[in-house]
């Protein structure tokens, strides 16, 4: 019977405006926290989905660009290799006690070379391979190839414009930043 003890308190007349306030509160649409949580979850999910989609698109776009570059390079290489004016030279080289080779596709019409190096020993940390054009006006730097790993390397080189007639090629081991003129050990030296 203690339930009735509430009636032991003296009643108090509420302020007139309280009724309107209380009824408005009670009759207001009920807030449903789970709906809010569900909405927040959906927003998060959509956000995560959009972010994932964006990441995927970015990755695919990068991959597409990389493949496009590879295709272009391949087309360039094929064009060089298939050129009727291309001259192919293979030079055996010995580096770091191992035997490798350098293959040169020289297109005298387009003035381009394709150089492929196989079996070259990795450079010392402060060194790099440097390829040279041998011209009738002297040695012209063609490319600097620092090699930190043992792997084949392919590169297309433009022959020097106005730099004289190209008569051959050479490769030396130079400081990592390269040299103006060959000073290091000669890896190979050849005439076309």
């Amino acid at each position: 019977m203690t339930d009735w003890l509430g009636m032991a308190a003296h009643p108090k007349i509420p302020r007139p405006e309280l009724k309107e306030r209380v009824l408005a509160r009670a009759l207001a649409p009920r807030r449903r926290p789970w709906r809010l949580a569900a909405a927040a979850g959906l927003v998060l999910l959509a956000g995560a989905g959009a972010y994932g989609w964006y990441r995927t698109l970015t990755t695919l776009r990068l991959e597409r660009d990389r493949l496009a570059r590879a295709v272009l390079s391949l087309q360039d290489t094929l064009a060089l290799v298939r050129s009727p004016d291309a001259k192919v030279v293979w030079v055996p080289v010995t580096t770091g006690g191992r035997v490798g080779g350098v293959t040169i596709f020289a297109d005298t019409t387009r003035h381009r070379w394709l150089v492929r190096c196989d079996g070259l020993a990795p450079n010392e940390p402060d060194q790099a391979y440097q390829i040279w054009f041998i011209t009738d006006r002297g040695m012209k730097s063609a490319a600097l190839m620092p090699m930190d790993h043992e792997q084949p390397m392919v590169m297309a080189l433009d022959m020097p414009k106005g730099g004289g007639r190209v008569m051959g090629a050479a490769m030396t081991i130079e400081p990592r930043v390269g040299s103006q003129q060959p000073k290091g050990r000669v890896v190979f030296h050849m005439n076309l």
Binding site: T2, D3, G6, M7, A9, I13, L27
Partner: protein, 199 residues
Amino acid sequence: MTHPKRLSQEDERSLVRRLKARDERALGELYDLLAPWALGVAFRILQDQDEAEEVVGDVFVQVWARIDQHDSRRGPLVPWILSIARNRALDALRRRRRWWRKAARWEQATTAELGDPAPEPPPHEAAVQGWPLHRQVHAALATLPEEQRRVVLLAYFDGLTHSEIARRTGQPLGTVKTRLRIAQQKLAEALQHLKDWME
């Protein structure tokens, strides 16, 4: 002078049916009937008008939202609502006590004397429905010896546990429990005739 409306069991059942049917006017009628008593309980516990009104708001929000949980076979509507008011008020009281304890710790100051607010004369009987029941409950309480009445009021309106009452009154825990048990038996006997809450 208006006379209090009689709320019979049938009236109460009808009110509950309308509330369950989401009749908003029924909620307004329930407020007219019970707000003074809910506010009285909350004020008695909290001794603060603003907080007590906040509790009344909570009570009617809860009643409207959970009227389906009210089972008339387990008890009438009035004690159910007053118990909601009491529980809400005690929650607010506990929050306030926690706040005071924190404030006291932080400021290392003595807790301010709350003191009893200036007694406010109760409203005129004509202004509130349910006075007969109020008088009956008071009469039932008045039949209790002072020490039993005190433990009942400390338990009901101050929300104290048996141990807290024992500390407050300086009585052994067993004595407090015994007094409460006897007081509840006497109140149950004195108020068992309550079926209609307004006459």
